[in-house]
Amino acid sequence: MRQKLSGWGRTAWSYSDVVTPSSSQDISAVIAAPQHRGVIARGLGRSYGAASQNAGGTVIEMANDEASPIALDPRTGVVTAGAGVSIDALLKYCVPRGWFVPVTPGTRFVTIGGAIGSDIHGKNHHVDGSFGAHVLSMRVMLSTTEIIELSPSIRPDWFWATIAGMGLTGIVIDATFQMLAISSSMMHVETERLQNFDALIAAMGSSSDDDGYRYSVAWVDLLASGSSLGRGVLSRGEHATRDQDSRSEPLVYNPKVRVSAPPWVPNGVINKLSIKAFNEAWYRKAPRRRTESIESIAGFFHPLDGVRQWNRLYGSQGFIQYQFIVPLDQTDVLRTVIGQFADAGVASFLAVLKRMGESNLAPMSFPTAGWTLTLDIAAGARGLPELLSAVDTVVLDAGGRHYLAKDAHVSPGAVRKGYDRFEEWKTIRNEMDPTGVWKSDLGRRLGLVDP
């Protein structure tokens, strides 16, 4: 059925023919039928831009928690799950059994296929790397409808091209990966307020004690100016140990969605004033000195999931999430960029700053040793194309790049400049899909595939 789709940012809508398969035979039937404008897999649509939609073509909706059973080896923590299974379902199954996902993004409503397609990272990237690093093997349907197994030792080039391949190499059917052993469903968290950007960088830098924490991330108030420029709250944590969690059943896991955003929100609810007030309140709320607390998994990793469809709060024009990374020694560039946004008067809720660890072998994987900054901006903001294009140039000139799972605006040239292994990836991609079946709006806009 033809359906209007967008990513999480609710911009760049287009219509695709959406099919919901109930088996891999269904998927091969769709691919085998002549496809004028190609096919793309869609998970839970949590990419911000147009990664999992295909204007005028076919979209295969993979998300389905019931599609295949979750097979967890309770001794080793090796799990096999269908690509349509969500991290939400995986956590509900595995946490009570003492296992946690190797990487979780800021929402648990993403699928395993989406986690692989974007090679997602979490608060533990500086220690554990991204999702792809934990995948032991996966089964992928090629555009010939043949299903093949890929792993770091079986066709490694195809394996790594599919990790962060944005769905453009094939459809992941299922994957086997290593989970992390935990003894409590609580998190031991340390929170502290840092009064400016330099303090923040010093606290998180590679010569700090940051590597001693499995999870680390900072929220930055981009609207604070003067001596408070770049002030933020640093939050670091570890899975709680048995002695930190006194509950009789320490592995009970019961995340809740509390409220829904109303289906229709007038434009302009989120504006500079409301953002400034929010950022201020949130900064004041954080403890001045390093404070320890015990939090739930949902509270620590997925606070936004408490409000269903919070993305509607930006109104009909939607919003974009801008995420880039620059090498470790380029902290000045972060400062420049924060200044560019401040000068332009573009408001953003809490930006997220994180120091990333080393990159993996996937040519299109986003994380690499460096600093990544992420901010949300209302898409209708005046002068935004000009501003972002100027920021893009600064980022790229510093040897940085942009995260395609979030992208809604960069130019084809920005991908080629930011990802120095792009051509290598494209060659492998073309080899895996010689007839050019896989297509998405993101792929068309950025020339990742032929139109």
Partner: protein, 254 residues
């Protein structure tokens, strides 16, 4: 493919020399635009604007396609030629038209034929060909320059007004046909605009510049609007005109 900031990667202008059309394209230019296609019968003239674009945005590729606005049968081929240059059409502006000012049509009925052909017949086939394309694409915005002259046709420009009334009505219905597939049509009804078309004519009330029209059109392209008047007050003026008793309307001085 348009991006998440509403920037069109490819912009196509039919009537590449049109003052209003060029003003709309200018207003849409910003970082992220990759292709502009000027479709005209006078490439040399259209390229003066093309060079202007390249000067402001060196990264934009400007292409030219030749077409004769009278050749209704050629429109499918012309659209295919455009598509071969840009792959997908994000925004297309249809601006070509003849006004026929100063022609005594009663004395020279055959003079009405080019107006009917350019403004109606060929524009209709063009809209159909473009509609087919955006339907296949699953998205795409078609902008038709109609006119308030078609809302209630007056005796002093009956031929022009009637062609605009026809194409306007057609475009609104075609939009309904397209909307389930993802494409859409924006019908623009300007009043008097100071352009090549109206040089030497006496300005009517609520006259506007091409730049002013362009501004409203650019905003409307970004929205869900299917019909706009420029300036917007004309919507109400013509609502009144439409309901004037014929006895009164026929005696109006224009």
């Amino acid at each position: 493919m348009k991006n998440g900031l509403g920037v069109a990667q490819s912009i196509v202008l039919f009537g590449g020399t049109s003052d209003i059309g060029q003003a709309i394209v200018s207003d849409l230019l910003r970082p992220g635009v990759a292709h502009v296609v000027l479709v005209s019968r006078n490439i040399e003239e259209a390229d003066r604007f093309g060079q202007d674009i390249t000067q402001r945005y060196p990264d934009i590729d400007v292409h030219h396609v030749r077409f004769d606005g009278q050749d209704a049968a050629a429109m499918t081929r012309v659209v295919q030629e455009v598509v071969s240059l840009v792959a997908d059409i994000d925004v297309v502006i249809v601006a070509q038209a003849l006004l026929g000012d100063g022609i005594d049509f009663l004395q020279n009925p055959h003079e009405a034929i080019p107006l009917a052909t350019v403004n109606f017949t060929a524009t209709m086939t063009l809209l159909l060909a473009l509609g087919h394309q955006v339907n296949q694409q699953g998205y795409g915005r078609i902008v038709l320059l109609s006119s308030v002259a078609g809302e209630r046709v007056r005796r002093s420009n009956a031929v022009y007004g009637a062609t605009k009334a026809g194409i306007d009505a057609f475009a609104l219905a075609l939009d309904h046909e397209l909307s389930s597939g993802g494409g859409s049509i924006l019908v623009v009804r300007p009043g008097f605009v100071t352009s090549k078309m109206t040089t030497g004519m006496q300005k009517a009330p609520f006259s506007a510049t091409p730049a002013a029209v362009a501004k409203s059109v650019a905003r409307a392209i970004d929205s869900n609007a299917r019909i706009i008047w420029t300036p917007s007050i004309l919507r109400w003026v013509f609502m009144v005109f439409r309901h004037l008793p014929t006895a009164l309307w026929r005696r109006m001085p224009f």
